[in-house]
Symmetry: C2
Subunit: 290 residues, 2 copies
């Protein structure tokens, strides 16, 4: 099928961080012919985005945006800001403008955004293109290329949902549809829990360093660096994810704590068979992913 | 200084797994002129090592080994086997033969091995060259090249300690000396704890998958694969490490559990400031490593 990026002629990206910036660069790279507008509260980011030729025009006041030219809006800020932004921009939107996002939490949030923005259509999107980096200066034109991307539509606006899917397919992402609540449980397990653990692991090494007067961060061998890479992720982005997906995150932490406790007890009792059971089962599962 | 690999003329590697195999291949690659003997209880591994030209001769009975040719022995089996191997080989050793290892636990274990093997000299060694792979078929000639390597000598046998250090320097490792108990605390924190967590994390995803009937391993995005790579490590090797370094491992798990509990409580209470504190502190520390 010919590339038409869902037929959108004017795209507004709200939030010019690494994800918003990478989206703009990807559109350029993949041959998008329409206009790209950027919004950010931070003027430096707008300047950087203009400098990179990522956007055609940049704004830090919603009132100034040429809304008549915009038929697709992508929210690319921390997820906790989505609802207030939706309320702010709603009065400006053209009738058939589609609103979407690139947030890591879906669930009730997409239902609320759908309600807030009605009769405009909101389509939730989560590109699985994680990076611990931040800021438009780290944007990459190929961040979404061949990356998985989950759409979590609600409602029956098939045509507009398909336009959003085509938009991302033309950027090169591998799209799939998922129920928003299933999405939040799955990503609490495979992404939010690992992030919580990575942050806590680094925190525990800070505590252990203080306790002993030995700077453990001088010895980053043994897989520690790879393992904690994601602990360098943006605190604001992740605070929002943990809070917005609170119930799932708390539940997966509980289950993880029990698994760790089981291993700890086996080590304490020197129960070699039980330790081997846990390690072998985990290993087998993990190896099946490669 | 000229390469002489510590002046050792005949090396016996006990245990032809990935580490023992990589050591033999590294010696070849770096121009070692002496003989390399291999011992393994598994005949297939010996055959594979001979096929790879990693070793000159292979044995599965200690009695058959030409001990008169051997002046350096490297233990390269799971750490829990070291003491019984030391007791078995001691009667065969020439007077000035030096014994060493490549194990991940030092502490009391090196003191016990030193006592068992006296008047022969034992020098503990830990190459920080982790891999989750197993078996001589995954051996790599450059596994130790430019890798850090910790020596944990006890006793006053300066000359022999220096020979062992020279051996590894000539292979290309960056050597450093550390107290064996400090070593075990440090590596419990930066390596054994992360491994325990990775095994427990995969276990918790098995539990969550069963609980919900959703195969979470179908969604390995969001950093999960990198994060759990080390959960594919050898169960036997890691069971031994956890047990041999039990007190340190249990203590670091306790401290980590408190850190995770602190983050969990902050999420539960929606204490944004506390969450940001934990995430920002961890991020800053983690970023300082890059």
């Amino acid at each position: 099928m010919e590339k038409d990026f869902g037929g959108f002629k004017g795209i507004l990206i709200i939030g010019l961080g690494i994800i918003g910036g990478s989206l703009a660069l990807a559109l350029r790279k993949e041959g998008y012919k329409g206009k790209i507008y950027g919004f950010d509260l931070n003027k430096n980011r707008i300047e950087k985005a203009l400098e990179l030729k990522a956007i055609d025009e940049g704004y830090d006041f919603y009132e100034m945006i040429p809304w008549e030219n915009i038929d697709f809006v992508v929210l690319s800020t921390p997820v906790k800001t989505f609802e207030s932004i939706a309320l702010k921009i709603k009065p400006f939107l053209k009738d058939d403008t589609v609103i979407s996002d690139v947030g890591s939490v879906k669930g009730d949030l997409v239902l609320r955004l759908y309600e807030i923005l009605k009769p405009h259509v909101f389509v939730g999107v989560h590109p699985i293109a994680g990076t611990e980096k931040e800021g438009i200066e780290n944007a990459k034109y190929d961040l979404f290329k061949n990356a998985r991307l989950i759409l979590t539509p609600v409602g029956e606006d098939r045509e507009k949902i398909e336009k959003v899917e085509k938009f991302w397919k033309d950027i090169g992402s591998k799209t799939e549809i998922m129920d928003p609540h299933l999405h939040d449980f799955v990503f609490a397990s495979v992404s939010h829990l690992p992030h919580a653990i990575a942050f806590a692991l680094v925190d525990s090494l800070i505590v252990l360093s203080k306790e002993t007067g030995i700077d453990l961060f001088k010895y980053p061998g043994g897989g520690f660096k790879d393992f904690t890479r994601i602990a360098a992720s943006s605190p604001t982005v992740w605070k929002d994810i943990f809070l917005e997906n609170k119930e799932n995150v708390l539940h997966t932490i509980d289950v993880f704590e029990k698994s760790l406790e089981r291993l700890k007890e086996a080590i304490k009792k020197e129960d070699e068979k039980e330790i081997l059971n846990i390690l072998s089962e985990s290993r087998e599962k993990r190896m099946s992913l490669d």
